[in-house]
Amino acid sequence: MSSQDIPEENLPAEQEAAHVAVSIADEKDPFADPGLPPHEHRIQDIDERAARRSERMVALLFTVSMLATVGFIAAYVGIPRDKSIFVFPIGHLSALNFTLGLTLGVALFCIGAGAVHWARTLMSDVEIADERHPIEAEPEVRAKVHADFKQGAKESAIGRRKLIRNTMFGALTLVPLSGVILLRDLGPLPGTSLRHTLWSKGKLLVNMNTNQPLRPSDVQVGSLTFAKPEGLEDTDEEFQTEIAKAALMIVRLQPDNIKDKRELEWSHEGIVAYSKICTHVGCPISLYEQQTHHVLCPCHQSTFDLSDGARVIFGPAGHALPQLRIGVNDEGYLQALGDFEEPVGPAFWERG
């Protein structure tokens, strides 16, 4: 770029002298608005060669965009969907996504860059002042509108015939009720469904991973086992809804370590079963610290002490995890001795 050697004939006849003059403050009011500063020419305004360079640059950008679109089509046709490439420093990427994205990006970006460069270098950059007019109407207009409105209201007689007015308001108020009523069948009423789960007396505890009923010997100290009630299969129609309430976590503690009396009573040989659904807003609890017997909800970090009735020791949960009373059946499998005695999951108004 040699902006220094502008040919003589292209230079403006006289340099803007005003620029220097303005900087001396007005004697009377030095803070007064001096008005728009004089326009300063860009190199493109005075040197046709520079203008032509800009033109070529804009055209080049538009041409690159066209090429990129051709590249996009070629990539769409030519690159297999499952091809992966290594791009430093990002790592392995889908070749198709990478190429389509970049070609589309370049095609779009170059149109934008071309248009902006065109506007900045070749279109007139003389600042223009537009007048503003107050948003408020003139007093006459205001008076006219008010008068018109009063005339219209008077002609309708809405103020005089109050019976019409009042019944109309009544009808208009009531009619949206139909719309509200129609929403009733969005869902059934809660009833007591939040209080019950699939667990009941005699239901075996089935290991979530192996799909086999659990024996006490399957549960070791320090491990965290997830269980579901027997008979619930993940292909069931209502599996998601049932597991959202029935999910269970089982740990084995040393019976001496259990501080809560009821917890000990409801356990079997130190094996305790608690609802896996956090009592805060219902995330499944999944982190177990075997040394302290704490479980942590990974969503909002509510922490429960499994050796002390699963009471809350930190975080936003409001009450302890519900415990499921368990025992073993005649064949030596772990079984539930009833449903949860309180609702599982987040608290609600009717919970009590």
């Binding site: 779009l108 506007a119 059934p188 009423l189």
Partner: protein
């Protein structure tokens, strides 16, 4: 309108095709009167004015890509086994929604790109609106006549949040399902009607079979429909009010200085659409977002660690995480304050910023139009309040990611949570005081510059040995720019006894208003700008410096 063609150019029948089309359209739509007012409309230039444009263009990009995605997405929660080309998920049970999203990502060529553009554009849309709102707030662009447009913009931001939330919940993946579960827990906490609301929302017990289809219609029809209307209204008002501008030589409340719509602004703004679109496409090419195939389908009994909502929902996550687990049981009922209080504060945080313009205009009692923008320093209390609000927002964002802060910085999760619990109250106070102080300092510096000129950095030694720094007087342009802002006087209640010594009743609202006015414009809250007399007195004595 005359139907005869007595116009010279028309009788010749040789008018260019474009002109003939325009004439045809004008005869039916009256486009010429519209164009007369707008074709050469003036738009001022400032870098911060592009923030709103970023939001507008990303909104358009979201609509374009969103329509494409609807062609392939199945908003259904029917369980199906996966048989697509992504091997690790083979045979796994998942909802049709998840299945079709994986299909878009792996078996539709360019589908992943469009999905990623859609998601990135949504994040940028919300971020753009957030920063644009801050620009409007800190420069006082919300003042009369633009209060309604401020509300339009605010509604767009809030609706954008919910459109985003319903959108990222659609694939029914493990991460978004966890977010939906969080929402269900929050709805359950509402006193009296919570369980009913939840059952109506999910068509029964969570998760049920309905929410994806319902979110789908909310996400692609209801909310974007309202938003489109608001965007159009927002733009019409921008055109109608004409754009604001910063103070400067030749710029006043009565004019707008800049470049005409045709051609400069059209080329710049139109070009900027392509720049934004191109940049987002490039981001979508290299930066993976929401890889649902790696996260897996939703199961209510499974979760991953480090679960995070999209950024704009993060502050609500912070609210729920720092809140202690308060529950009140009485008469067989439970008041779940630990969840319900955050649910109430969530909209209040947003409403606080939305109502500010109305509070300020009530305090100033100013009925005039404002088209010249404030520099943030010249409204120290407003700027301080804005920064305090942002501090609350950012601390809540930290709280929303307390587990990530703890694991990445090797801190205790309890310590991070306690930090949030304390600083959500203390932080904004500190931020307010600091910001106000900085603003006042900057005002003092402006005053100094006006009265004593610019520091040149030239040190001169006087004959008697004293060293002085030469100050150069400012040009009239600079003097005008630095003194153009309006300064309010604090509102006075006036004497509480009248001339007869009878006590006058002063309403509580008047007292409050006077107090607020003093807080906004009292001696503590602004440095009076230099007057012409002060300037003359200092500059008349030469050799003063």
């Amino acid at each position: 309108m005359s139907t005869t063609t007595n116009d010279e150019s028309r009788t010749r029948g040789k008018a260019p095709a474009g002109e003939r089309v325009a004439d045809w359209a004008d005869g039916r739509l009256g486009i010429y009167s519209l164009a007369k007012a707008n074709m050469r409309k003036i738009f001022p230039d400032h870098w911060s004015f592009m923030l709103g444009e970023v939001s507008l263009y990303s909104f358009i990009i979201i609509i374009l890509t969103g329509v494409y995605l609807t062609l392939f997405f199945h908003p259904s929660m029917n369980e199906v086994a996966y048989h697509g080309s992504y091997v690790p998920l083979q045979g796994q049970l998942m909802s049709e929604a998840f299945n079709s999203t994986v299909h878009i990502s792996f078996d539709v060529r360019g589908g992943l790109l469009v999905r990623q553009i859609h998601h990135w554009a949504a994040l940028i849309f919300l971020a753009g609106m957030f920063v644009h709102m801050m620009r409007v707030f800190f420069t006082g662009a919300f003042r009369k006549p633009r209060e309604i447009n401020w509300l339009f913009g605010f509604l767009l931001f809030v609706l954008g949040m919910f459109t985003g939330f319903t959108g990222y919940s659609l694939p029914d993946d493990l991460l978004s399902g966890t977010g939906v579960r969080f929402m269900e827990g929050a709805v359950l906490s509402v006193p009296i009607v919570g369980t009913y609301l939840s059952y109506f929302l999910f068509g029964g017990q969570f998760p049920g079979h309905d929410f994806v289809a319902r979110f789908y219609s909310v996400h692609i029809l209801l909310l974007p429909g309202i938003m489109l209307g608001l965007v159009v209204g927002h733009l019409i008002l921008v055109f109608y009010h004409k754009h604001t501008q910063f103070a400067g030589p030749g710029k006043s409340e009565k004019n707008v200085v800049g470049m005409p719509l045709l051609p400069v602004y059209m080329a710049k703004a139109g070009g900027f659409f392509f720049l934004v679109f191109g940049a987002i496409a490039a981001i979508a090419a290299v930066a993976q977002i929401n890889p649902i195939w790696a996260i897996g389908p939703y199961r209510p009994d499974q979760v991953s660690t480090g679960a995070q909502p999209d950024w704009y929902m993060g502050f609500s996550e912070g609210l729920i995480r720092f809140m202690p687990g308060w529950e009140v049981n009485f008469w067989g009922h439970t008041l779940v304050l630990g969840v319900f209080i955050p649910l109430v504060i969530f909209p209040l945080v947003l409403v606080a910023i939305a109502v500010y313009p109305f509070i300020e205009s009530w305090v100033t009692g100013d009925k005039s139009e404002h088209h010249i923008l404030d520099r943030p320093r010249n409204a120290p209390t407003r700027t301080g309040l804005g920064v305090a609000w942002m501090t609350v927002y950012l601390i809540l964002l930290v709280g929303g990611g307390n587990d990530l802060w703890a694991t990445h910085l090797h801190l205790s999760i309890n310590a991070v949570t306690w930090f949030v619990r304390i600083f959500v109250f203390v932080g904004p106070v500190i931020a307010f005081l600091l910001t106000k102080r900085i603003c006042l300092g900057l005002q003092r510096r402006d005053r100094e510059k006006v009265l004593h000129g610019r520091e040149t950095g030239i040190i001169k030694r006087l004959p008697h040995g004293e060293f002085i720094e030469v100050h150069e007087p400012l040009s009239q342009e600079q003097l005008h720019t630095l003194t153009a802002h309006h300064q309010y006087e604090p509102a006075e209640i006036g004497p509480t006894v009248d001339e007869n010594g009878v006590e006058r009743k002063v309403k509580g609202s008047q007292k409050l208003r006077a107090k607020l006015s003093d807080a906004l414009y009292g001696e503590e809250s602004q440095i009076s700008k230099p007057t012409v007399d002060e300037y003359k007195e200092i500059t008349s004595g030469h050799g003063h410096h």
